[in-house]
Symmetry: C2
DNA sequence: TTGAAAGCGATACCAT
DNA sequence: ATGGTATCGCTTTCAA
């Protein structure tokens, strides 16, 4: 193994000089810097992470806590994870992966044993049980999602309230007077996942503001769940002409079932989805969609974590504005 | 911060004794052990990971390299990742997440800076460029997938050859004489992803052995790709009565399109899929499927990595036998 | 602008 | 069965 001492010897300087060349924490003459860098490359030196962490109290590692649930939007999750890793690398950091089933204990463990400098937590619930722990951990934390009381914590998320609102606005502007929201699984609402409730509120409020009739149908993400959901939908007294789907898993099946039941999109019914653009585009009829900006959110989470680690920046809640892309699946109401 | 010295003092023993109590590397009297454990709990002591790594040359961390591609089966990937983390924790290890875009350099980095003790690599190609590097790294490595030359490396995967074979066998036993394989995107074949070719070979060979006519159609995972693929399929001279789908992304759309084109499953055509059971079950018609045992593979990969770290066990290729579950989507040929 | 050396918190060897 | 302590590789203070 090549150590800092080997490099120092080869470059004819002291180990501390090599360290300072690497960290940039004090000025070094150009000549020395070059000799040191040359020796580093020549010997293929890489600082030992453990030694560095021990001496500096910095691991250059971010802990990322991912959910283990099956009822989540997995592709979006994975996008988020890879974006986090990629962004972390751009700050010369690595990512340690934790699963949510370790709970608060996992957070304690990682911090107390100095495995990571900061923590990023995905899939935050409204009454998030890990929030008090995160506050007391004494390490920067960034949540994806906004708990009821984000006091003292940094949170990032899509502005789901605005997203729900924008979907209704778009439909109302096209003349739709009767809309429905096909939401996530009831389980998602029941455990109070923060984004589901926020989207619903934006949806409902704007519908009221615009004088649009709005119904909400949570949907279990199975074929049977979908069928039941559509049965309910089509049995409504006033025919719904605009459908907002906040449940990626059933998007394809939903369109099939509508087709099977003789409802044409968008002629009979407009469909608008909350999902990644490629999913919206890959449907039998490309759907107007509000993007879930997983990649931006991942990068932003890392960026905010870095700021906190540098002692800059205060805890804050950062909501990204929704972006709605119009595609063939949305049309005006045909009288 | 609570150190091992604090614990030692509180328990009235030396630091080395505390260390030995924790590691179990020498015998300790029951009384001492109890006092030490009591102090550990009382003080909330957790060993410092960096210090431990520095002194012991063991990080208790596994590096996991995940692909960044979009054309992969993301839910299966995520299952694999979480299974890996969960299993690693059961060995008191953590998982450091790397993305494949760091390439061989990333592997060097992680090893040279002592960030991880072993490496698990997903999405291995037939002519995997990282293979030579992994061999020279001097650290245990486990590949998910089997490269052309697995010499000296440990590999785990589903036995895709047997899986392809079993699908044909099942259809042939039901009397099907004309079958087709709807495979992954052409891009997957082109870059020589190892599992795609192996499945194809098992499929083709068994078809020949059984005197069954077999055609293969790679399918770009978009709606247009699917339509083109089905056009080709239905234009064949001899009508295909059995369809094997090795491409999860288009499973739902495929069934919709078949329905739209008036082909009933399984009355007109039997459909058999290679995918997780829940996906097969969630279709409009539940499909017979060969499971991709992501969870077992993840756990197995970790287990083999642990063995290698303990100096037990040689490099080996471990293929899990396919398991076919019969569901409503497969039926006999109706003359 | 640079060097010497004291830690950081464990492990494991050498003693007893 | 237990203790003392050198050691791991790096950072950072203190000095020059």
């Amino acid at each position: 193994m090549v150590t800092i001492a080997d490099v120092a010897r080869a470059a004819g300087v002291s180990p501390s000089t090599v360290s300072y060349v690497l960290s940039g924490k004090r000025s070094i003459s150009e000549a020395t810097r070059r000799r040191v860098h040359h020796s580093i490359r020549a010997l293929g030196y890489r600082p030992n992470a453990g030694a560095r962490a021990l001496a500096s109290n910095r691991t250059n590692v971010l802990a990322l806590v991912v959910p283990l649930r099956a009822d989540l939007n997995v592709p979006v999750m994975m996008q988020f994870v890879t974006a986090t890793v990629t962004e972390a690398r751009s700050y010369d950091h690595d990512v340690l992966l934790l699963t949510a089933d370790e709970g608060a204990e996992g957070l304690h463990r990682v911090v107390a044993s100095s495995l990571a400098d900061a923590i990023i937590v995905m899939d935050v619930e409204a009454a998030e049980p890990r929030v008090p722990v995160l506050r007391e951990l004494g390490r920067p934390a960034v949540l994806i999602g906004v708990p009821d009381d984000p006091q003292g914590l940094t949170c990032v998320d899509l502005d789901f309230t605005a997203a729900g609102s924008e979907c209704v606005t778009h439909l109302a502007d096209l003349g739709h007077r009767d809309v429905a929201l096909i939401g996530p699984s009831p389980a998602v609402y029941e455990r109070g996942t923060s984004y589901a409730g926020r989207f619903l509120r934006g949806f409902t409020k704007t519908a009221a503001d615009r004088g649009v009739t709005a119904v909400t149908l949570p949907c279990v993400p199975t074929y049977d769940g979908l069928r039941a959901c559509l049965d309910d939908l089509l049995a409504l007294e006033r025919a719904v002409t605009g459908l907002v789907v906040h449940n990626e898993a059933i998007l394809g099946p939903l369109l099939s079932e509508l087709d099977r039941r003789g409802r044409r999109v968008p002629d009979d019914i407009s469909v608008l989805a909350v999902c990644p653009p490629d999913l919206a585009e890959a449907q039998s009829v490309p759907l107007t969609s509000v993007d879930i900006p997983a990649v931006e959110l991942g990068a932003l989470a890392v960026e905010l974590a870095m700021r906190l680690l540098d002692g800059l920046g205060e805890p804050e809640v950062r909501l990204l504005p929704p972006r709605l892309t119009v595609r063939a699946g949305t049309g005006p109401v045909v009288a």
